[in-house]
């Protein structure tokens, strides 16, 4: 009987009158059930790559450059290392790719500089990879340069010593390959000066450090720092003829297309000619002289050559300084900055090393 009752109730369920309650919200009966059921589609095979037709380049392991770039961000050390090797192999086999893919390459590669868990072998691989990247002409590098430099400088201030050392080698590389670009970058000057000034240690030998400082000074020393594109032309106002044709091409030919003096800040402009500003010169001397003094005191014959080169560079900077008059107490401050050098020269053991002494003496004059 119970069963039949239930059945009856079920049968009449559709016609049952819903009971109204005053002030309560009724459940809607005429709503549409909008839930969607779906089935999975399982692909048994991927679409076959049509070999030959595509121009894409793959590494030995069949990975494209984009794949490798994303693998460079992998948390596993070995995967990263393999990716570095793969990327190097691709880029050596197809050097034209570098220029085209700088936009993706630079952030992916430069990020690795400040990875803390990289071992020496990987560092070497990475260095050769970055050297490969630095074969790109300065013109095409220039838009990506600030980002690249920012990564390196970040590495230079890193708390890990290995990272710092590696960053130093990379920035050395940049100083050598792109002197003009480096010259225009204020950050480089400031940070490197700060770096020399601070007590940060690196695993490099003194020689490497001196080399680095020398090449750092060199970029500001080059004569091409001030290139004038002045053309003298005489305009005859009576018959409206020019004495000479003006050709604007040479002016723009060697220039960085992204470099407009109007757009860059005045700070960047000022630093581009380091030796024209007395303040920068002073701070540079202040930073360098303790270092030079210390190296000189070590009295290493092998280093004397480097020291002499460095000192001559410094001297040239002082000689060429045209704006000394802008600072009243320039001479005083300069002498103060050179004080450690003077002290070093007075040490008796220095007497053997005559070349260096002579260089110091000329500088102090």
């Amino acid at each position: 009987r119970m069963g039949s009752k239930k059945k009856k109730a079920q049968k009449n369920a559709a016609f049952k009158k819903t009971k109204l309650k005053v002030g309560k919200v009724l459940k809607k009966t005429n709503t549409t059930d909008s839930t969607v059921e779906s089935r999975k589609v399982v692909l048994l095979t991927q679409l076959e790559e049509q070999s030959g037709s595509s121009t894409a380049v793959y590494s030995y392991r069949g990975l494209s450059l984009d794949n490798l770039c994303s693998q460079l961000g992998h948390y596993s050390k070995s995967v990263r290392k393999n990716a570095i090797v793969g990327a190097k192999q691709i880029l050596t086999s197809a050097p034209n790719l570098i220029e085209a893919h700088l936009r993706t390459i630079i952030p992916a590669f430069a990020r690795l500089i400040s990875m803390t868990d990289t071992d020496a072998a990987t560092h070497a691989q990475l260095k050769s990879l970055l050297e490969l990247v630095c074969t790109v002409p300065p013109m095409s590098m220039s838009p990506h340069f600030p980002l690249f430099v920012a990564h390196i400088l970040r590495g230079l201030t890193h708390s890990h010593e290995s990272v710092r050392s590696f960053a130093l080698t990379v920035i050395h590389l940049l100083l050598d390959t792109y002197p003009s670009l480096c010259r225009d970058n204020t950050d480089i000057f400031q940070t490197i000066l700060h770096f020399i000034n601070s007590n940060r240690k690196t695993s490099h030998s003194t020689r490497v450090l001196l080399d680095f400082v020398t090449s750092f000074l060199k970029i500001y020393d080059s004569d091409s720092a001030v290139v004038s594109y002045c053309v003298e032309v005489r305009l005859n106002t009576e018959d409206g003829t020019l004495s000479k044709r003006i050709d604007m091409c040479p002016a723009t030919k060697h220039m960085d297309p992204f470099h407009f003096p109007v757009l860059t800040t005045s700070a960047a402009g000022a630093s581009s000619s380091l030796f024209t500003s007395p303040e920068t010169l002073l701070s540079l001397t202040q930073a360098l002289s303790p270092l030079v003094a210390r190296v000189a005191m070590e009295n290493d014959r092998n280093l004397s050559e480097h020291l002499v080169r460095l000192l001559s560079l410094m001297k040239r900077g002082v000689e060429r300084q045209p704006n000394k008059f802008m600072l009243v107490d320039f001479d005083e401050r300069y002498a103060k900055a050179c004080d450690p050098l003077l002290k070093a020269a007075k040490i008796p053991s220095m007497k053997d090393n005559k070349k260096v002494l002579a260089a110091i003496a000329t500088l102090l004059q």
Partner: protein
Amino acid sequence: NTIAFRVTTNRHLFKMSVVPIPQASGKINKFAMTERHLGFLQEMVRKNPESYKEEFLDQYEHFMQTIKLLHLQPVQHRMDVQPLLDSITFLSGVVVFFKEEAKAFGDQMLTVLREQSTGLDPHVRMAFCKALIPLRNKNFIEPLTLLELFFELVKLEDKHLRKFILSSISSHLKVICVQKKNLKLAGKIQNFCFAKLKDSRSIVVRCSQLILIDAFRKKYFRDTKTANAISEGCFHKIPKIQVAAIKFFIGSKSDEDGEEELSDDDENGGEEEGKTLKEVMNAFRYAKKTKKRERDLEKAKKTINKKKKAKKESRGKECNLLAVQSLYDPQEFGDRLFKMLESTKVEKFEVRLFRLALLARIIGIHRLQTLQFYSIPLVPSRYVQRYLQPKQRDVTRILLYAAQACHELVPPDTIENLVKCIAYNFVTDRNSPEAITVGINAIREIFNNCPFAANEDLLRDLSQYKTYKNKNVSMAARAIITLFRQVNPKLLHKKDRGRLTAEQTEGEDREYLDFGVPAVREFVPGAECLPEEREENGEMEVDDDEEEEKSDDDGWVDVHHAEDVSDEEGEEEVEVEDEEDEDEDEEGEWETDDDAAGDEEEEGDDDDEDEEEEEGEDEEESEDEEEGEVGEKNDKKATQSKKQKKRLSKSEMKAQIATVPKEKAVKVSEGRILTQEEFKKINQFQIKKALVSQKKIAREIVGTRKRTLDDDRLDEEYEEKRQRRVEGDGLPRLRDIEHFHKKMRRATKEERMESIMEGREGREEYGKRKKNGPHVGKTNRENAKKKVFNMVKNKIRGKNRQRSFRDQQCSLKNYLMKQAGRKPGN
């Protein structure tokens, strides 16, 4: 420990150490330690900021480089995020020790957040914001610039950030307004928020609205300016903002429903009363953990949380009323709301309902004249009536709003139409009993507010439902009768009118005599309970609470004392005839001060009672006559009181009691300015008086008809309601309208099962064994084997001894058989 003996060193020496040279071992250790553990370094810097400046500067420099990188490339690789977060937490914890760096640090973060806000990783963004807070607290950053930045960041679609920003602003306000009392800055922030309320971006408006509402609730900005600024939100184009503003004024739903959270809490958490959550947790932590204690802890936690919530809610309650009361121009505000309600714009019903609720509340509280609101039932498109059908969704709420919007100053004809409409639509036999109940209840609430809208015909129709077979309906009808017995008995049928109370005969309790005719009084009713002259103490003008209380107490003690004396005299029958007479006279006619009065009355003279009964029966008797009587009595009283004064010259207090109440009330209320405490006292006195008179009437009715429990209940409810009208906003609540005396319906089996299942949730299942644990899967015998022998030895011994003689025989036999190499048998 190696680090502890670091001394500030010569900078010059440090410059020398660019290239690694072997150094003192302490130094190298320090580098190795602090290089990786920023937290450790942070601790060290905190202890001695000066000597660890170099380490700090290194970290700081690195961070600055990172910021430069962030400007060029805001999106960081996910692996770089964590180190950055670490360095931010380190710097933010430490940077406050170094002034110059702190400023630059803050500025750098501000610029990055401003320029690269969208690109940054959400975690980094949050970390920046969190790091900025201590800088602001130490005044390295202008609070207003940070506030501005926060309002910029709010535009980002980042829920967590928004939440953080809102909470941080709120806590900042707390510091400013409560701890530091920096009103100038608070005012600036307030004005800033006001300006942001007019922003074109809706999310900005919403945020500043939320901040203001929160600040108002928490008393940081509790002023009319804020309330009015929030009120503008009711007309914002975004519905969500409208609703938030409206809800702010309406308050919580439970308040509207008339639920009381506190009462049931008190029952549940009786033992946990007064304990804080921390105490309970601590008690649990240090006690042995048992299941029962765990359960108790859960329960205690729940009740404490509930209490907290209730407290919060109740705090909200008072501020809603305050907010509504502090509107600058309620009439204009109401009109604007009404215009929005009337507009044909399609919007959600809930929003409309909210608006309706707010409008009703404002009309009710401010006594506005928005007559279209009640509107005519004949025009179907008109307002409230359009919704007044039993099948309408949320109709009880709409009825409630209709009742809330009714107040004494609405013309009776307007209300009459409304009531008629409700009566037609709800109170007819063809409707369900529920609908009828709701309808009658709503009408009762309306009449409670405007009694002059009632007419005799309708009222008699309604009161006929008192014999309806459904109890809910009949009780609702009887509640209306109870109401009108107090308010205007003449409209009721003769047999429904009941007896007049003393107050009614005096016309004392009425606020209005007719529509728009307020009852003017010459004195504060009930003022006779106060002593005629305030006890003079020199510092009366200064509100010295203690003094006040003292004098109050004295007053009370005096009264009681006087009465006690008279009581004793009555009971012990120390019969000084005149005195007794006087006492009884007094009580019979004037329903005096205390419950004791009621008690004495039973003993009172027959004459007096007769007189009263006569009064009750002759209801047509004009009040003039009564007043005449009163006058006579007054005279008599006066002479008697003189006598009494002479007789009881021992104490002046007794003399005070004896003076004629009305005269005394006039004298008291004319003679001085009453204080708040005195008004409180008067209120209590009035309540007592009413109670006494009611009791008396109830007692009298016993003779005629049996007084049921329901009668008591109705009276109590009426009294409660009257109390409520005096106390808060005086508006009816949903509970009044959805008031069913009997449960509407039994739950079906499914519903019961559902609730049972709900209760079972989270409970351990019966019958299933535990799968793991120290003793799982072992019998007690096995467990006993692992116990220390001393623990079980007695048990084993006992067991051995219990062996019966036969068992011992059997085992011996088996043993011998085994020894003999044969199988043991039974």
